[in-house]
């Protein structure tokens, strides 16, 4: 970012923050513990991150918000896939995340999906 002005001025230098979120693995089993990784730029230490888990294709989260403070523009949150008490649309096996910087009201794009086998497997004859 660049900010230019002449002498004898107070020059505001606002920095646009960014936030990204991702799963630590492409697929997992129910009961596994995976890492949710948040990476930001220009976010102060101690700001709170809210994590939401969505079924792929849905705008309604079924887990969260999980709130954690961020340090040095990164947060690695250990997340146990324990959705027994959650209401998840039938036949859903891909799940995405968002991360929101609460103090900035800034929400990430949806993460890439993580596949979780929730249905009993079907075997061929």
């Amino acid at each position: 970012m660049e900010f230019t002005d002449q002498h004898d001025k107070v020059v505001p230098a606002p920095l646009p923050s960014t936030v990204q979120v991702s799963w630590s693995q492409p697929r997992a089993w129910h009961g596994d513990t995976v890492t949710i990784r948040v990476r930001t730029s220009f976010v102060k230490n101690g700001y709170n991150i809210e994590l939401l888990v969505f079924p792929d294709g849905s705008v309604n989260s079924f887990d969260g918000p999980i709130t954690k403070p961020i340090q040095n523009n990164q947060l690695d949150h250990q997340y146990k896939i324990d959705w027994k008490g959650k209401v998840i649309p039938a036949n859903t096996n891909a799940f995405k995340l968002t991360a929101k910087v609460v103090e900035l009201n800034l929400t990430s794009a949806l993460s890439d999906p993580m596949l979780v086998d929730l249905s009993p497997p079907l075997f061929s004859a």
């Binding site: 660049e2 900010f3 002449q6 002498h7 001025k9 990204q20 991702s22 799963w23 103090e103």
Partner: protein
């Protein structure tokens, strides 16, 4: 060796011009600078030439230069009215707003036996950059560069490279008139030229750069998309002009040897330079594998083929000449293949039925 009396500033009592020291006075010139309309804090100004004119200092007067404490003493002089004026040397005069707040010569009658103060207050030029986040809170610890350009234009010259202090304010005083540019390195818009990365085929990595300078060196790190701590490969890069501004860009032709530590097909890149970094989206690495597609007797099967891989990707193409040129996701396993036209299924290595190439139904 001077006369003994001269060492102590004494005069001979036989000298008819001798004057009692109490009938003489000293001049103490002091120059200090501050922000306009704000007297504190202030700072001494050195290297300013003070010119004294008076009974003992006829035209063109006596000159002296202020020291680090902003002061310069003159005298002792015979009593009378003395005028002190200042001359700022060219190398510092544009640090002070002398056109708006000019220095006015001061005339005072010296008092015998003491130093008469000539205090000059001048106004310095300043600038303050307030580094804030979107909630208007100070951001600190960021690398920055501060550059200066003369009022007449010309080149930007870097005058400082530091980290933003705790209050988020980069405050500079006693600065030269002109333009100031604060640069805080950052990257945006990291993109692969093609999200399908093929071993042996060049791909371009690009990130828009800001707060950096053309020629700055950086690096693209190829990372395991699921383990940002695992750097698979590094590619040096240089900030250059591109698009509307600057970019960090490099071409990469992935080689199998560079991907040995990668456990699957998904990668991201991290662009880094000058304390800034950004992560790209996920891309998939493919290898080109020619898979034999034949009947048991070795004769070629010509058919559309669909191959399902362990990373969830599906490859579809036509076999020909007994082979299928397959874009095989790096280190992934083929789970199933479908010969859609001829209704033939095959299973490839790792299936419970063993490694059979073709199983006609």
């Amino acid at each position: 060796m001077p006369p003994f009396g001269a060492l102590f500033g004494l005069r001979s009592i036989n000298d008819p011009a001798a004057t009692c020291k109490k009938a003489r006075g000293l001049i103490n010139v002091e120059v200090r600078a501050h922000k306009a309309l704000v007297l504190n804090p202030d700072k001494p100004v050195a290297k300013v030439t003070a010119n004294v004119q008076g009974p003992d200092c006829p035209l063109p007067g006596v000159n002296g230069v202020t020291l680090a404490d902003g002061r310069k003493g003159f005298g002792p002089y015979h009593l009378g009215n003395y005028t002190v004026d200042l001359v700022f040397p060219p190398d510092i005069q544009d640090r002070y707003d002398l056109p708006t707040y000019p220095v006015v010569p001061q005339s005072k009658n010296l008092t015998g036996g003491i130093a008469t103060q000539y205090l000059f207050l001048v106004v310095w030029h300043w600038i303050t950059f307030q580094v804030r986040d979107l909630a208007n809170q100070p951001l600190d610890g960021l690398d920055y560069r501060l550059k200066y350009q003369a009022p007449i234009g010309g080149a930007w010259n870097q005058i400082e490279a530091q980290k933003v202090p705790g209050n988020g304010n980069i405050e500079k005083v006693e600065i030269r008139r002109g333009q100031y540019k604060l640069q805080i390195p950052s990257f945006t818009n990291p993109v692969w030229s093609n999200p399908k990365i093929v071993v042996g085929t060049a791909v371009t990595l690009t990130a828009d750069a800001s707060g950096l300078d053309a020629g700055d060196t950086g690096v693209f790190q190829i990372l395991d998309a699921f383990d940002y701590g695992a750097v698979t490969h590094s590619i040096p890069a240089t900030v250059q002009a591109g698009g509307p501004g600057l970019i960090l860009q490099a071409s990469w032709t992935p080689q199998a040897a560079q991907l040995g530590a990668l456990k699957h097909s998904r990668v991201v890149f991290r662009a880094k330079a000058g304390g800034a970094e950004v992560l790209s989206g996920v891309a998939t690495v493919y290898d080109i594998v020619n898979v034999p597609v034949t009947y048991g007797d070795g004769s070629a099967i010509v058919t559309p083929v669909k191959v399902y891989f362990s990373d969830g990707t599906v490859f579809q193409a036509n076999s020909g000449g007994g082979q299928l040129r397959t874009e095989w996701p790096w280190k992934e396993r083929a789970l199933r293949a479908e010969f859609t036209v001829q209704h033939v299924n095959i299973k490839v290595a790792g299936t419970p039925d063993g490694d059979r190439l073709v199983n006609r139904l």
